[in-house]
């Protein structure tokens, strides 16, 4: 899964079409799911996590909403503003070619950390993001695999350095990259016992490295936790994502109609203690329209959520075609999202995609507010 705007090869597209058809059966296609419910949740215990394009989005969410998000788990991605060429009065100029080039495969072309830090301060000065000073109390887990051939490790290292430059104390950052067995992890969300071989760089981009990434990530963010459940005893809830997008134009903005939520039994209505909330973001080619339920049931987060009162929100991205864009013009091809990635290079014409005003960030944050009982 590249976290990128590159078009899949034709064979991949054919397979994707088959998977798309199959995903309707799994409930990943357009559906009239129920509205997202409110739950007894603590708004001060919200965290975000993601892999690849989901890591870039988790990073954007965390930095844009630093006042409301206490920590982040960044796997194989994430360097705020990595695809940004310049900041303008209306937003940013971002390029898909910067995403697939410097951010993923040509790290020598990345800018110094100060460049990305300036983007953060510029956008915050415009009032489009929370003041970055809030980040000082954040706890952050970052991971890059030694065998990752999709997103170069240097990008994740720079993301780590950016957090330091923005004031996150080194003691609150856990950066993991070189201590897994064998040749290390390929581009993937790493699990203890599910998925491809550890060094694979292939679908479903969930690798078995005998390493409990979900557990270490959640412990970094929330501190000591109860051991995970042997199998999750809560429920998966499908919910309607369209209400969180202007004009319900989910597909045009790279969002699937349906998202998913994992609710442990201890977090159902009437719970005695408020629960934590974590947002877990899949990568490109990993949404429910491609993988069905695999990402939101197999990455090991729900097991930890069960015993530690964590509600897990799994928003879903969508592979946007030219025909689905709000308007067709000479720039349409540059605004598509063929692999169903999260928006980290400004597709769909969203020039504020990495700020609180970005369509996807706004949608996901509205979901968080709903779950925690703050929003409508």
């Amino acid at each position: 899964m590249s976290p990128s705007p590159t078009a899949a090869p034709s064979l991949g597209r054919a397979a994707g079409a088959l998977l798309l058809a199959a995903s309707a059966w799994f409930g990943g296609g357009a559906s009239a799911a129920d509205p997202l419910d409110r739950f007894p949740a603590d708004a001060s215990q919200v965290s975000v996590a993601g892999i690849s394009s989901g890591a870039f989005m988790a990073n954007q969410l965390h930095i844009a909403h630093s006042a409301g998000i206490m920590g982040a788990g960044i796997v194989a991605g994430g360097l705020f503003g990595c695809a940004v060429d310049s900041v303008t009065d209306n937003g940013v100029v971002a390029l898909a070619s910067l995403a697939v080039g410097p951010c993923m495969s040509a790290p020598t072309l990345l800018q110094p950390v100060a460049f990305y830090q300036r983007i953060v301060t510029d956008l915050a000065a415009k009032g489009w993001m929370d003041p970055p000073g809030n980040l000082a109390r954040s706890r952050v887990y970052l991971f890059t695999g030694r065998a990752d051939t999709v997103v170069n490790s240097r990008t994740v290292e720079l993301g780590t350095n950016l957090y330091r430059a923005l004031g996150v104390p080194a003691a609150q950052i856990d950066f993991r990259d070189r201590d897994l067995p064998g040749t290390g992890a390929g581009h993937s969300w790493v699990t203890k016992n599910f998925g491809n071989s550890c060094d694979a760089n292939a679908a479903p981009y969930i690798n078995n490295c005998s390493y409990d990434q979900a557990g270490e990530m959640l412990r970094t963010i929330y501190g000591p936790l109860q051991p995970p459940a042997a199998s999750p005893g809560g429920r998966i809830v499908a919910f309607d994502q369209t209400e969180f997008v202007p004009h319900a134009a989910a597909a045009a903005n790279g969002l699937l109609d349906t998202g998913y939520l994992y609710v442990p039994k201890a977090c159902e209505a009437g719970a005695q203690q408020p629960c934590r909330v974590t947002v877990a973001l899949h990568g490109c080619l990993q949404s429910a329209e491609i993988l069905g339920s695999e990402f939101y049931t197999k990455v090991g987060v729900n097991e930890w959520a069960d015993t530690n009162r964590i509600i897990v929100l799994y928003p879903q991205a969508h592979a946007t075609t030219v025909a689905e864009l709000a308007s067709q013009n000479f720039l349409s091809l540059l605004n598509t999202n063929p692999q169903g990635c999260w928006n980290w290079w400004g597709y769909a014409g969203d020039t504020r995609y990495l700020t609180k005003q970005g369509v996807q960030i706004n949608a996901i944050w509205s979901m968080v507010r709903r779950v925690t009982g703050q929003g409508n």
Partner: protein
């Protein structure tokens, strides 16, 4: 029957409408030119950055003189790695320049096309105003005078 002054008035208004359309066309062309210049500026800036970066990295990479067989092997491997990096960088830079050019061209084309569409609508509206509906809808019948022959004034 329209009087001469009415016809003259309509013609004058039509001329005014056409002039306004032309002014808006010129504005769009001006905006397109501005976008084109901005795009060229961004391209030039990026090209300069690429050149600067390439020079910086070239001067930064100082090959050392190997003193042993393993040193020679390491030096060759280093050169191969550098070559691969340079190729990846070259491709990435080329893609960046292409995208900047495509975006700039696309923006210019969008401005010109949307103005063209609007101008056609405005021209249609101006025509409808200039030629009253009753005239436009009147059947245009070409009558041939009985006894008239080609080339012969009737």
């Amino acid at each position: 029957m329209e009087t001469t002054s009415q016809i003259f008035g309509n013609g004058l208004r039509y001329f005014g409408d056409l002039l306004a359309i032309e002014m808006r066309n010129m504005e769009a062309i001006g905006l397109a030119q501005q976008k084109m210049l901005e795009g060229m500026g961004m391209l030039a800036k990026r090209q300069a950055e690429i050149a600067e970066g390439t020079l910086r990295r070239s001067f930064g990479a100082q090959p050392s003189v190997p003193s042993s067989a393993s040193g020679v092997q390491a030096a060759v491997i280093g050169q191969i790695t550098s070559l691969k990096t340079a190729m990846v960088e070259g491709q990435a830079n080329s893609n960046i320049l292409s995208e900047l050019a495509a975006r700039s061209g696309g923006e210019v084309a969008n401005i010109l096309q949307s103005r063209m569409m609007a101008a056609l609508d405005e021209f249609k509206a101006a025509l409808e105003q200039a030629i009253p509906e009753r005239l436009a809808s009147a059947p245009t019948v070409l009558t041939v005078q009985p006894g008239a022959q080609a080339g012969t004034p009737a």
